[in-house]
């Protein structure tokens, strides 16, 4: 029975068989234009790949604030340690280089390509072409590369010139010329020996009493960098409800990026102080904010965390998960 069931898909495949390729080994099937069109999402600096449609700086502002600002900041300055998108001009040759879209990126096409393929972080490839044009235009506007009248489309976008384009050159290594010397190769009197600052890295796996073992991801880099060592997690056992158990998977893919580190005013999961006033409002209010989005004094909650492919139940389950871990 099992065996014959397995055969069915095989027979179906053979019955509806695709055109066999005519390469030297005759392996594989012809990739049809329809198949390719769905996956061929890449954009090049010359504009190859840019789709029809257009977007504006004005439309981009609202989209950016709803979908991007919670991580990248309202003005592209970057929330917490998420990447800054704007600023940093004139810093690349200083001791504190800030590599942003405006100060560093050589091509505007990269912006369109990357936003479309990988952003928002929790909902990749969810933006329409028009949304991508608008958000790209707005990020260029935040960097003073286009003005507020800019309309982005295939023609205008490919013409955008980035200020740092000329400052890239192809790898010219090997650049160092060490010699295979064996005797008196260095002057020990000139040695300056710099040691490691203790407490910066986890060493609990080989040193006793030295802090936490680095066998899990704490997800709170700011706390770690402030105190020098990461904090040990509270091991209290929490028994999750069925709803919250279902919500954990959603949380891991859609919510934790903000609610683990606690960026953009997002209450950190497990931070009882941050959650208590929120939980007091009742689950209906919390679920409503999570599903429809919320702008509070502390920060922004994008609707469904910016991932519109989630169902309302997904979001409700994820909220249950966070609440049960945080009270």
């Amino acid at each position: 029975m099992f065996r014959s069931l397995k055969l069915i898909p095989l027979l179906l495949t053979m019955a509806f068989s695709v055109i066999v390729s005519a390469g030297p080994l005759g392996i594989g099937s012809v990739a049809t234009p329809e198949m390719i069109a769905g996956w061929d999402i890449d954009i090049r600096p010359d504009g190859t790949g840019l789709p029809d449609g257009e977007g504006t700086v004005a439309a981009g502002e609202g989209l950016y604030e709803a979908k991007c600002a919670s991580c990248h900041g309202l003005f592209g300055e970057g929330e917490g340690r998420w990447p800054a998108l704007a600023g940093g001009e004139g810093t690349l040759d200083t001791l504190h280089p800030e590599k942003t879209v405006g100060s560093y990126w050589p091509y505007a096409s990269t912006l369109w390509d990357y936003i479309h393929r990988a952003m928002p972080y929790t909902a990749p490839q969810s933006l329409t072409d028009a949304e991508t044009y608008s958000i790209s235009a707005y990020v260029l506007y935040l960097n003073d590369i286009v003005d507020d009248e800019f309309v982005a489309n295939r023609e205008t976008f490919a013409r955008v010139k980035m200020p740092n384009e000329e400052n890239f050159y192809v790898d010219n290594r090997p650049d160092s010329k060490n010699e295979r010397c064996f005797e008196n190769c260095a002057d020990p009197k000139a040695f300056e020996i710099v040691t490691t600052i203790n407490g910066l890295t986890p060493t609990g796996h080989f040193k006793e009493d030295s802090g936490v073992a680095a066998n899990h991801y704490d997800g709170n880099p700011s706390a770690a960098s402030e105190s020098g060592i990461s904090k040990e997690k509270n091991d209290t056992k929490i028994v999750l409800s069925d709803k919250a158990t279902l919500g954990k998977g959603v949380y891991d893919t859609a919510c934790q990026a903000c609610h683990n580190p606690g960026i953009a005013g997002a209450p950190r999961t497990g931070d009882k102080t941050a959650w208590v006033s929120r939980i007091d409002q009742g689950m209906d209010v919390l679920n409503g904010h999570a599903i429809n989005g919320y702008q509070g004094a502390d920060g922004v909650m994008p609707a469904k965390g910016g991932n519109m492919s989630l169902s309302n139940d997904d979001v409700i389950n994820a909220v249950a998960f966070m609440v049960e871990l945080s009270r």
């Binding site: 390729s21 390469g23 392996i27 594989g28 099937s29 012809v30 990739a31 198949m35 390719i36 996956w39 999402i41 890449d42 190859t48 340690r81 998420w82 690349l92 040759d93 560093y104 990126w105 050589p106 091509y107 990269t110 990357y114 990988a118 990749p124 400052n167 890239f168 050159y169 192809v170 790898d171 290594r173 090997p174 060490n178 010397c181 190769c185 260095a186 020990p188 040695f191 020996i193 710099v194 040691t195 490691t196 203790n198 910066l200 890295t201 986890p202 060493t203 609990g204 796996h205 080989f206 680095a214 066998n215 991801y217 709170n220 880099p221 770690a224 960098s225 990461s230 934790q256 683990n260």
Partner: protein, 438 residues
């Protein structure tokens, strides 16, 4: 077998300490924590002390020899012994989110040149996709005569190769450009692994699709949430790029790109796109995010190098190291790894005085192109401090540079490709610390 009894507090503490002595790291801490909790609720506590550790030693009969062990297939897929502590680890503050982060290989615990698949370092730009191989496809299109869509079964029909190659993140050691920071070998050099990879040469697939004369570049794209993409020049593809489905004798691990990945031997790890779904042949590079915004090397003059693909010759001493201090005076074999993205390791030298004088080491085991290569130096240690260094030379004659030489060329902000000679300070008590000499 121990008997059940109600212990006094000192006895309980002693039993806990005895038990903990045989444990490592986290286990031990968790046990101690449990023990302390047990002390807190003492009135109801009963513990059964296991036989003390010494009873298994000669002349006694070890307890594991006194009865039968589990039979065949008690673990259909085996795992390391419970006493081992082989783990990937990360430094949490390095990145803001685990789905776009890095973990490191425990080089200090490895034996030989093959990295077990389960502890190969991880680098994700959008987490690990859970790809169903039956529904995974590789599309090859663009400037080709015959655009193809290939199933995993199709791919396995092609003539295959198996090759042992290292893979390294260009940020390996990158936290140390401006000073010694990492307190462990796993963190200074662990964005590195070496596996046997099985797959089809990309040149074979390109023959099958027929690259048009103006096809010069290949865009490789992953099926992960980041849609990871890199431009690869045709010369590399025709040279030694593999499209791999196998790793160390089994299917790729999900962390390593299951069911299909690119492998560009000797090149920075991110070019070896995982969860590979698409190859497009074009006449120019794409300049995507991971080859412009990231993985370009900022120089002190504010300009930046792009397409810095090759991982230049590098080496590190793995024993002793911070995790493996010297515990006894007398004979010691100093061991380490050397590797080069340009080919085979020709020689490795070692210095005990911070690079003033150098000795030749012996290469041992397999010496393969673009693979981890072991080196060994036999000596004695009598408690004298050492500034231990290793220096790799590859078959092109390239000599691994000093940190000063690299900084003179590149300053302190280029993040990637820091392959300079590394220094371990061995103290009088045998402890080992990461230091930099400038």
């Amino acid at each position: 077998m121990g008997r059940i009894y109600e212990p006094s507090l000192p006895k309980l503490m002693e039993a806990i300490a005895t038990e903990a002595r045989g444990m490592k790291g986290l286990d031990r801490r968790n046990f101690l924590k449990g023990g302390i909790a047990a002390v807190a609720g003492l009135a109801s506590v009963q513990i059964i002390p296991k036989a003390s550790a010494s009873s298994n030693l000669p002349p006694n009969l070890p307890k594991w020899q006194s009865h039968l062990g589990p039979g065949v297939v008690s673990k259909p897929y085996g795992e390391p012994a419970e006493f081992e502590d082989l783990q990937r680890r990360t430094v949490p503050w390095l990145t803001v989110d685990a789905a776009s982060s890095i973990s490191m290989t425990p080089l200090q615990d490895l034996e030989g040149i093959i990295t077990p698949s389960g502890v190969v370092f991880e680098r994700y730009h959008g987490g690990i996709p859970n790809v169903n191989p039956d529904q995974h496809r590789l599309i090859i299109h663009g400037l080709v005569e015959r655009p193809l869509v290939l199933t995993m079964d199709d791919l396995r029909r092609f003539p295959s190769v198996s090759e042992i190659r290292f893979i390294e993140c260009p940020a390996n050691g990158g936290m140390e450009w401006r000073g010694a920071q990492m307190e462990a070998l796993q963190f200074t050099h662990g964005m590195l692994a070496c596996c046997e990879w099985t797959g089809v040469k990309l040149s074979t697939l390109l023959d099958e699709v027929g690259v048009k004369p103006d096809g010069k570049w290949i865009l490789a794209e992953g099926a992960d949430a980041a849609g990871m993409s890199r431009s690869i020049p045709l010369e590399k593809a025709l040279d030694d790029t593999i499209i791999a489905w196998g790793q160390n004798g089994e299917a790729l691990r999900p962390e390593q790109g299951y069911p299909l990945r690119m492998l560009n031997p000797g090149w920075e790890g991110n070019t070896s796109v995982k969860w590979l779904r698409r190859l497009e042949i074009g006449d120019q590079p794409w300049h995507h995010r991971e080859e412009t915004s990231k993985y370009t090397d900022l120089m002190p003059d504010g300009r930046a190098r792009r397409f810095t693909w090759v991982q230049e010759a590098n080496s590190v001493i793995t024993s002793p190291c911070p995790e493996k201090p010297l515990k006894q005076s007398g004979f010691v074999e100093i061991r380490g790894y050397a590797w080069s993205g340009r080919g085979k390791i020709k020689a490795v030298d070692i210095s005990f005085d911070g690079g003033v004088n150098w000795e030749r080491t012996e290469l041992k085991g397999l010496v393969l192109s673009k693979a981890l290569t072991q080196f060994s130096y036999r000596t004695t240690w009598s408690g004298q401090p050492w500034l231990l260094q290793s220096r790799a030379i590859d078959e092109t004659g390239y000599v691994q540079p000093t940190l000063k030489q690299l900084r003179d060329e590149r300053g302190g902000w280029s993040i990637y490709h820091k392959n300079s000679i590394h220094t371990w300070n061995v103290m009088e008590n045998g402890d080992v610390f990461n230091v930099q000499i400038s």
